[in-house]
């Protein structure tokens, strides 16, 4: 079977990021998943078992002391070496800030073509085909690569397939990383989400708050409803800019794009940039005191009224039905 490389994102603490499962799942639709990790020498072994459980048939470990100290160069090197060693039909990378930079650089290094921000992948007569959701879901397109390897960046939370667990074959190689052309990392602040709520990317239900909530203290109502629904918390850019919550929660054109079963917008007017990040949600509910808010144009259920009266009543009803 053709091999498909998956670049695994590793946190500064050396843990596999949550994007790995979906990437390996996507790879298993195309061929045999080969996980590629760039790690400090000696720290790859501890990741192998977990990568096997997520479906990696092989694990390609690139080792360098510079991992985590420079931007992307070790990851680019690791994948380039793995491409030469395994002759894959595709390389899958997370469509994250870090992943897409690495993907672009891999494409340059290997002469590959890019399939960007794919929400699904398939193989068709030897070609890799990616599906894209464009302009906030207004259009759906398919693309492929002519005459070369396909490097695919995969939208986070979009792929539901998971690969069957495997006993991976491990290959370790030392990387020779050129630091003369690398950006240097001085310090990292890795935000560990410890709320116990689901991750915004890939959550089945998302409750988001906007500027209409009025204050950081009031934003807690979003968390209360999220907890009653078992949902992830999101926010509009206006709420982030107003300092109600950190940037990590931003849903929209910039920020995270979500496509949950249920999206609840509290005090969000619905600027087009916000809609672009959530309008492919299956069901949209909006509560806003402004009856002309654009969010109502796309809401399956809209309520004109006071969030602080309606949501507590809803939370009580939800808790009573449990």
């Amino acid at each position: 079977m053709s091999k498909v490389l998956v670049l695994i994102e590793v946190s500064p603490a050396g843990e596999i990021r949550s994007t790995a499962a979906a990437l390996l799942g996507a790879a298993s639709k195309l061929g045999e998943p080969v996980a590629v990790v760039a790690v400090a020498p000696g720290s790859g072994a501890s990741l192998v078992e977990q990568l096997g459980s997520l479906g990696a048939a092989e694990v390609f470990v690139g080792e360098s002391d510079l991992v985590g100290k420079i931007l992307g160069a070790a990851e680019v090197q690791a994948v380039t070496a793995a491409v030469a060693a395994t002759q894959p039909i595709a390389v899958l990378v997370s469509n994250s800030v870090e992943g897409r930079e690495v993907a672009g650089r891999i494409a340059v290094c290997t002469g590959a073509g890019l399939i960007m921000d794919a929400v699904d992948v398939r193989e068709d007569a030897g070609r890799i085909v990616g599906t894209h959701s464009v302009f906030g879901g207004g259009f759906s397109t398919e693309s492929t690569i002519d005459g070369g390897l396909a490097v695919v960046t995969v939208r986070q939370g979009a792929i539901e397939e998971r690969a069957a667990a495997a006993q991976p074959v491990v290959t370790s190689v030392p990387l020779t990383v050129d630091i003369s052309s690398a950006g240097v990392i001085d310090s990292v602040e890795d935000v560990v989400v410890s709320s116990g709520r689901p991750d915004l990317r890939g959550a089945a239900t998302v409750v988001s708050g906007g500027r209409g909530l009025g204050s950081k203290e009031n934003f807690v109502i979003v968390e209360q409803l999220a907890d009653a629904l078992g949902a992830a918390v999101g926010a509009s850019r206006a709420a982030v800019d107003a300092g109600y919550v950190s940037q990590m929660y931003q849903v929209g054109q910039t920020g995270t794009t979500v496509a949950p079963q249920l999206y609840v917008a509290l005090g969000i007017s619905g600027a087009i940039q916000h809609l672009a990040g959530m309008q492919t949600a299956k069901t949209i509910v909006a509560i806003n005191k402004d009856e002309d808010a654009p969010i109502f144009d796309i809401a399956d259920f809209g309520i004109v009224g006071d969030v602080f009266k309606i949501v507590p009543q809803l939370v009580d009803a939800l808790n009573a039905s449990k």
Binding site: R100, R105, F139, S181, G183, D186, Q253, Q313, S321
Partner: protein, 257 residues
């Protein structure tokens, strides 16, 4: 210091944006075209350095159809010293690989100490071009900076990712992309608009860059384009005291709770 700012002309996000159903490309004819807001923010970073340090030279560079001139003129009226427009019919439908190769060639020809760009455009949203240009030029890339600090021989700043932030730096020359956390761009003033007319706008063809219109490795091809039906408004009620309960019933009926 010479800073080249890469600017992209995009369909205005306040209008309806469309794809051409036959080519799968962005429909640039039926919409208002503007400089992408994130490109303007990148330009603002360069111009605010120029405000402080008069020796700073700012060049705006765009690859695009003839209409991209409007965006470059706006960049000049905001305060850039000169503009470079890479214009060639063979570039229609260029993918990221080809675009980055052409921009890298134009940058080499123009010369620079620092390249600034937006982290991702509002139309393509690929977010790969700055890193690909840097790779082709063999230069460091600091991507997605929320804060940019430009020094004599280096650039540093705060990089924002899905997982938090990092402090990063690189020696110059380098490529930097900025996020929308960087300051909002200034508006052109009357003096700027008047002086912009006298500033140089160089148009470069592929031949002038010494490039052949061929592919550089694998090429992205759009296979199909389908417009999703527009989302329509559903039920809308005004709260009369029991909307929370009605919403609970709605969610239960759809098996969402």
């Amino acid at each position: 210091m010479k800073i080249v700012v890469l600017v992209k002309q995009v369909p205005d996000t306040w209008g309806e944006r469309r794809l051409d159903p036959f080519t799968g490309r962005v429909d640039r004819e039926s919409v208002d075209r503007v400089i992408d807001e994130i490109s303007e923010r990148a330009l603002e970073v360069a111009l605010s350095l120029k405000d402080k340090n008069k020796g700073t030279e700012v060049v705006v560079m765009s690859m695009g159809p003839s209409s991209a001139t409007d965006g470059l003129r706006k960049g000049l009226s905001m305060g850039a010293n000169e503009a470079v427009h890479v214009l060639d019919d063979a570039l229609v439908g260029a993918d990221a690989g080809w675009t980055s190769a052409v921009l890298a060639a134009a940058l080499k020809q123009t010369g620079f100490d620092l390249v600034l760009a937006g982290n991702e455009s509002t139309d393509g949203r690929g977010g790969v071009i700055p890193a690909m240009v840097a790779q082709r030029l063999g230069l460091p890339c600091l991507g997605s900076l929320n804060i940019v600090e430009i020094e004599q021989n280096s650039v540093r700043g705060e990089r924002g990712t899905e997982n938090g932030t990092a402090r990063v730096h690189a020696s110059l020359p380098a490529v930097v992309s900025v996020t929308e956390r960087t300051p909002e761009a200034r508006f052109p003033n009357f003096k700027g608009i008047m002086t912009a007319k006298r500033k140089s706008l160089t148009v470069l063809s592929l031949a002038e860059l010494g490039m052949e219109p061929t592919t550089v490795g694998g090429r992205s091809v759009v296979l199909s384009t389908v417009e999703r039906p527009a989302r329509t408004a559903g039920k809308k009620i005004v709260d009369e005291g029991n909307a929370g309960l009605e919403l609970a019933e709605f969610l239960a009926a759809r098996h969402l709770i």
